[in-house]
Amino acid sequence: MNDNTMSIPHLIMSASVVVQLVMLLLVVGSILSWVVIFQRSIALRRAKQEYNQFEESFWSGVDLNELYREIPADDPRHGAEHIFQAGFREFNRLMPKTRSADTVLEGVQRSMRVAWSREEDRLTQHLVFLATVASASPYIGLFGTVWGIMGSFQSLSMTQQATLATVAPWIAEALIATAMGLFAAIPAVIFYNRLSNNASRLLGKYEDFAEEFHAILHRNLQGRDGKPSAS
């Protein structure tokens, strides 16, 4: 009997409507946060793999023109490739128009910054949702608990004797809301930290790559005023 009344499904079913709504909200939030966690984890891992592959091919001594030509112009790429594409396209477009190396480099840098900023936006998308779930769900759960305990005390005032046995199921039922809030929040916090850290490290790598590419272009412009070639 005790087993039955204190089991978690039974407690959830016998909770009040508000508490049940809170629980439903928390379950939905938890499921969505896990969707984001999986989706971002996979996306970031792929982005990292692709960056590693591109970096390897970039530093393998291949001709940059060739490298650029292998990327279809109408096909926007992601990650470091996108930055490289944007910068090199800008460089190619500016080279015939101006003799000034500074102007060319400035334009290249600006276009690369834009590309980087787009990459940042793409990598960190949905991570804000994780942060929201992580910070809000404990409060939502707490709200459910407070509401449930309020109801329990209201119904407790009707009874003659307030033994532990009459209070316990109500409080257990109310505390389930907090437990669910924490259940949704803890993975969200952990994975938000981990994923945002991954994303920022990747973005740092993109930035480094952009700087290095910029340095290469700069060196080419300094050497001769003709077309740049691979270093």
């Binding site: 005790n2 087993d3 089991s7 978690i8 499904p9 379950v27 938890s30 499921i31 969505l32 896990w34 969707v35 984001v36 966690i37 999986f38 989706q39 996979i42 996306a43 792929r46 982005a47 692709e50 592959q53 591109f54 390897e56 091919s57 393998s60 291949v62 060739e66 490298l67 292998e70 990327i71 279809p72 096909d75 926007p76 790429r77 992601h78 990650g79 793409r122 259940f183």
Partner: protein
Amino acid sequence: MVKGESHMAVKPPRDPQDVGYTWPTILAVAVHLLVVIFSLVKLPSMSAEPDSSSIVQATFVSTETFTDQAQQVTEQQAAMNNASEPEEPDPEPPSDEPSAAEQQAAAEAGQREAEAKAAEQARALEQAQAEAEAEAQRRAEEAERLAEQQAAEAQAREAEEQRAQAEAEAQRQREAEAERARAEAEAQRQREAEEQRAREEEAQRAREAEAQRQREAEEQREREAEAQRQREEEARRQREAEEQRAREAEAQKQREAEERRAAEAAEAAMQRQLAGEAEAAANAQQAQQAANSFINIVRRAVEQAWVIPPGASNAMSATIQVRLGPSGELLATSVASSSGDSAFDRSAMQAVEHAAPFGELRDLSAEQQRTLRQFNLRFTPGDVR
């Protein structure tokens, strides 16, 4: 690495980094289902666990069983209930078949008899008819003879009568004339006498009417008095009858009450007996519970006082025999079965000594106290540290 580069370029444009949402969704739902299943599966085993994790187990040296008595009581009751039932249906079946046979035989015999009787009757009837016919013939002949005789006599008598009649007529005519003369005189006299008589009668009638009236009045009075008396009599009788009835009813009631009281007394006596037995059983059970609670208290106290020595392993167990004084004070502890580690044994004995005065023993009944004054405690570290 140009090859790798070209391989990358061939890939579909949006695929590599825009991960779809189907797989993450499936994975997320799976994670939640796993969590739910774990929460459902794990809880019962968790609730079942804590019973076995007590580290000190207490066993009695001697305990009484109380179940036998209770069973005896219930058996007795069952026997009493059963005793009255099964007698009735027995005597019927054996008498059934013979009677049927008999009935059949009797019926056959009766039929045979009836047939014989009918034959006899028929024979008797025939005989009787024959006799009756003979008789009737004889009687007819006799009657004829008699009739002839009578006819002759009657003719003689008629002639005589005619003569006598003629004589009587003449005589009567003479007498009638004399009579008429006498009658006239007589009528004269009679008329006078009648007048006289009428007058007298009138006076007489007036007197009689008076007397009659007086008599009637008297009778009326008498009747009324009689009726009055009768009514009184009736009332008295009714009262008496009523009293009689009341007395009888009272007596009846008293008799019934007495009978009822006797029946109730008998039933109460039986119930008291049963209740006494049940109570004895209940007492035994209560005592057992009290003993259990006492043992539990002792166990708790000893558990709390026990400092498990650092070298103790889970497999070790020591049994300490404890003897208590009448008020719960510790008289003696001895190692009934050693764990092999003297430090462990000593720690167990010290735990008993620390927990020692078990004042709860005084709350138990004398008999319980006697049985609980000596018991064994088994110490096993278990997984509790």
